[in-house]
């Protein structure tokens, strides 16, 4: 009984993690771009005169989206028109349940896992969920019964499939190193120090893989500089026939996918929930770092790392101009994919040599 409740609580927590990040990223997006462009940014919404440096806009935006007319144009395929935003938003949200937000902590005489869905195929689950999310984009373009929407959906499909392949390939080296598809085991593999000074995070062993992962991940989220499927103001995108909260769901999808990519990057390359430089078993501090305190530390570390990656992705989004579509596909198929494959082969060779020479890289 308590197990089922705990799983429900964890899934709710993962959902809350994603949704709150998506809402918060709306504010981060505005403010970060404003500060780096010597502007002030949205700061007008207030409650009783309190503006909270624009944080009230987080509440104002959904109110606006929900109270707008939900206009369904004549001629759209109604079922798919309704279904597309849910698919686009729902499946990336589902992927969030597979991440290890913390390791196992012992409390009240039992072990509690902080991973909502404890699956040995966690990574495959995440990739599959993100891939199903592509259907939402294509479906939206198809259901709109509009050439602009359809072309946007086609661009989205071409881009996301290309970069889904690239993303999986960039992670192959890291996965081969950890020898597992289980995200919790991958995080646990990294949760140690090399010689007490260097955290054994994936980025230390896979720097090229990490950079390629970030590029492919940014492209997968359909955000600038890879926002060809939507391109709101210039090249009309797949959600041209949507309004109100359905449009808002597509916008949220991009942010949720950013969170998914950031979580994936943190889990595979940045040590997951590992808190580096914790004092080793001190007489007084050691017992304190158990149970709920340790859980909070792990969750905090994971969230902080995700925040850092999202900050970087956001900065990239506001720095680079958009690619042309042929440049985009060239970058994916002709550059990232061969580089990622070379990285994977080199990693495999290095692991083979390390095992042959008896180098202790594995815990």
């Amino acid at each position: 009984m308590i197990d089922i409740l705990w799983v429900f609580a964890k899934v709710a927590g993962a959902l809350g993690f994603g949704m709150n990040w998506a809402a918060f990223l709306g504010w981060v997006e505005r403010k970060q771009s404003a500060v780096m462009q010597d502007r002030i940014g949205a700061n007008r919404a207030d409650i009783l005169g309190f503006r909270l440096i624009g944080l009230i806009h987080i509440i104002a935006d959904p109110i606006k989206l929900f109270t707008k007319e939900d206009f369904v144009p004549a001629g759209v395929r109604k079922t798919f028109h309704l279904l597309a935003p849910s698919i686009s938003l729902g499946f990336p949200l589902l992927a969030l349940a597979a991440f290890p937000y913390g390791g196992n902590v012992s409390f009240l005489g039992r072990s509690w896992s902080l991973q909502p869905v404890e699956s040995p195929m966690g990574l495959v689950l995440v990739l599959a969920m993100v891939a199903v999310g592509i259907h939402g984009v294509v479906m939206a373009g198809y259901a709109s019964n509009s050439y602009y929407g359809l072309l946007g959906g086609m661009r989205g499909a071409g881009q996301m499939i290309a970069y889904e392949v690239c993303l999986a390939t960039t992670m192959a080296g890291a996965v081969f190193l950890y020898g597992t598809l289980d995200l919790a085991a991958a995080a646990a593999w990294q949760a140690r120090m090399i010689g007490g000074v260097l955290p054994a995070w994936g980025v230390v062993f896979q720097p090229v893989g990490f950079i390629l992962f970030l590029v492919a991940g940014t492209a997968l989220t359909k955000r600038t500089p890879f926002d060809l499927p939507e391109g709101e103001s210039e090249i009309v995108g797949y959600h041209v026939e949507y309004s109100g909260m359905k449009f808002g769901m597509f916008m949220m999808t991009d942010l949720i996918e950013s969170v998914v990519v950031a979580c994936l990057g943190v889990t595979l390359f940045l040590g997951g929930w590992h808190v580096p430089f914790l004092p080793p078993s001190l007489p007084f501090l050691g017992p304190m770092l158990e149970g709920p305190v340790m859980a909070c530390l792990m969750l905090g570390a994971f969230t902080a790392k995700v925040a850092l990656v999202l900050f970087l992705l956001m900065q990239v989004r506001w720095t680079l101009p958009r690619f042309r579509f042929d440049q985009l596909l060239d970058l994916g198929w002709k550059n990232i994919l061969p580089l990622a494959l070379a990285n994977f082969l080199l990693t495999a060779w290095a692991i083979y040599l390390a095992k042959a020479w008896g180098v202790r890289l594995w815990p």
Partner: protein, 169 residues
Amino acid sequence: MTVRPVSRPERGWQVQIYLLEVVYGLGVTFRHFFTNLWRHSAALAGLKTEPGAVTIQYPEDPPALGVRARTRHRILSRPDGTPRCTACLLCETICPARCIRITAEESPDPLIEKRAKTFDLDLGLCVFCGYCVEACPVDAIRMDTNDLRIPSFDRRGMIWSLDKLMGKG
């Protein structure tokens, strides 16, 4: 006809791989971000720094106008309070937007020939070129009020009479 050959900018490999350029661009935006973040934080903490943003939040902050900015007109008066305008119609003549309409009348002062009976200036038509100020031989009209709040809900409200231009209601 001469042809001037323009060489295309050379792009080395370090530009072509784009990754270094990305890092360079990120360096620029990060520098701006952290500089401005520091300035905003310092301003919140009450320290004196340069402003973190160039934004002027207009109705709350005073507008930043140049010293020679041409804004809403005003009619200057003599020491006895009568308008300086002698109704010579030079401003009405030179106005490219034809926004000034003056009717002249005999002045009671024997030393002054005419005075303006009405002086209507349609700010909805005015292009703020400043020719009227240049043309005026008696320095009766100036555009130095720095007043930007001239809008009205109808066109008639944009027409300012002599009294309004002299600041008498």
